[in-house]
Amino acid sequence: MQVKDVKRSFGNLRALDGVTLNVDEKTVTILIGPNGSGKTTLINVITGFQKPDEGHIHYGSTEITAWSPQQIYRTGIARTFQIPSMFGKLTVLENLLVAEKNHPGESFRKSLLKRLWAKHERDAVEKASRILQLLGLSEQRNTPASLLSGGQMKLVEIGRALMSDANLYLLDEPVSGVNPTLAHEIFARIIGLKEQFGITFFIVEHRLDIALKYVDYVNVMASGRLIAAGTPEQVINDPKVIEAYLGA
């Protein structure tokens, strides 16, 4: 994915001020920066929830600038949210099943005849079960999502994203509010998914103590601009980063 000179303002506040960055295939890249530096706005712009004022976003060879969230999802980019967002009255399993792409039973017309969607549903349940097992949530499959802990909700969000069979996952603070043991576990699973399935991750995260040891590349934002990019070792030794973020 390539983000080129993207700008986005809210009134007089310039949240993104010409951000340019690349996310390479089959890597785990994190985006860090102080609060208000524009990280979540960038995720929102990439996934179509906010339109950029200027700039271009390419996914592979396709320009996806200002596409709708539905189009972005269908093209193979899935996201999670900073605050865990559940379908509260659905079970954990159902939360994952909603994320299934191109399910014939989700069309009113086709839902009328069960034989048109029953097999797809069975396959989707099997896929969701495998993901729940991978995330250690098998026991909670029939638990209403609203009754989960914050950490478990984060895992369900990741599970929902995995249901999409996307190639690029944008995770907004996947381990915030999660205890250190579980946070390490989540990152270890992310690395496992990258290595096993060749999935690309672009992650917004504050918890550098946990994240840095797992990631391939780091991008640093401050005041709506990208101020550094590189490997974890390069970035943590960058004076601009130390001044703007790490040294704070």
């Binding site: 996934t47 999802y73 379908f87 009255k89 159902e94 099943l97 989700e106 549903e121 349940v125 099997e126």
Partner: protein
Amino acid sequence: MTPLDQVILFVVDLLALLAVYLIINIGLNMQQGIAGIPNFGIVFAVAGGAYITGGLSTRLAVSLLGVRTNLDPIFNNVAVLASVNPILRSQPLTAIVLLILFLMIGGMAGALMGLISSAPAIRLREDYLAITLLAFGEVLNVIGIGYKPLIGGPIGVSVPDIFGWAGEYRFYLGTLVLLLVAIAIFAFAGYIIKTPFGRTLKAIRDNEIVARSLGKNITQYRTSAILFGSLLCGIAGSLWVLYSGAVTPTYARFDWTFLPWLMILLGGMGNNRGVFVGSLIFVTLNKLIIYYKFEFVGILPFDIVWLNYLLLGIITIFILIYRPEGIVQERWTAPKQDLSAADRST
């Protein structure tokens, strides 16, 4: 009339009204309870089904039965029906075919009304959508009163007696048909709720933003829910007209929007069992008051005409304070299939 006859009459009347409200409430529940669309204008769809049935049924019957008349089916309604009804009384099968036809037309009219009322605001947030739907609520009454060719203006029109072939058992048959349609719709809506389509509607209700992020077209799903719910309301409006034999432009928001809301709040939204319980309790209490309120004359320190309204007020307060989720709460439903098999395959 013997006491037994009175009880039978009460029960038949009760069941007919229960069936009609159950269909409307299932339609409302599909929109508010399942899809999270606060439709305060379902009277628009109910009246749509009722008025279209009132306006077209005699015309269609005249045409389909080959009745030769120069009289206008609306302005000379009684005279035209005097030719139509004897044919229907002697041809039960024809009457049944017409009943099905009228219900289909009523349902489509309801769906169309739902589409029209929601179109301006379907892309907006829930609160704006609710205000728009509220505003549409009584448009059809104004049209019904002002445009006489529709249902004859303020005095209304009678409709062909579809159940007349049952003779003295006409109202029993009518009630039975209403109940059968209500049961069929209850089962069908229950099935729809459990499909992936129903699950997606609930997901959108629970969290619209996340649903969008998962590729769901919110506008399309909301439109489908409104169309389906309004179609049911249109069928209910049509059934009520055919059962009662006439239609007048008096489809008030109070009876056909506020009361259904109260019933689903009482029973519990998001599940059809709750809708049934709420409808049963409310319609029974309401009917009991209508039948027996005169027994309280002189006993109560206020005019008995207020008893119904007091009941509504008390129920509303009771629900809001003690049971905001309703009597029957929405259940969490796992997809019905061999989940253990899925587990084994992992």
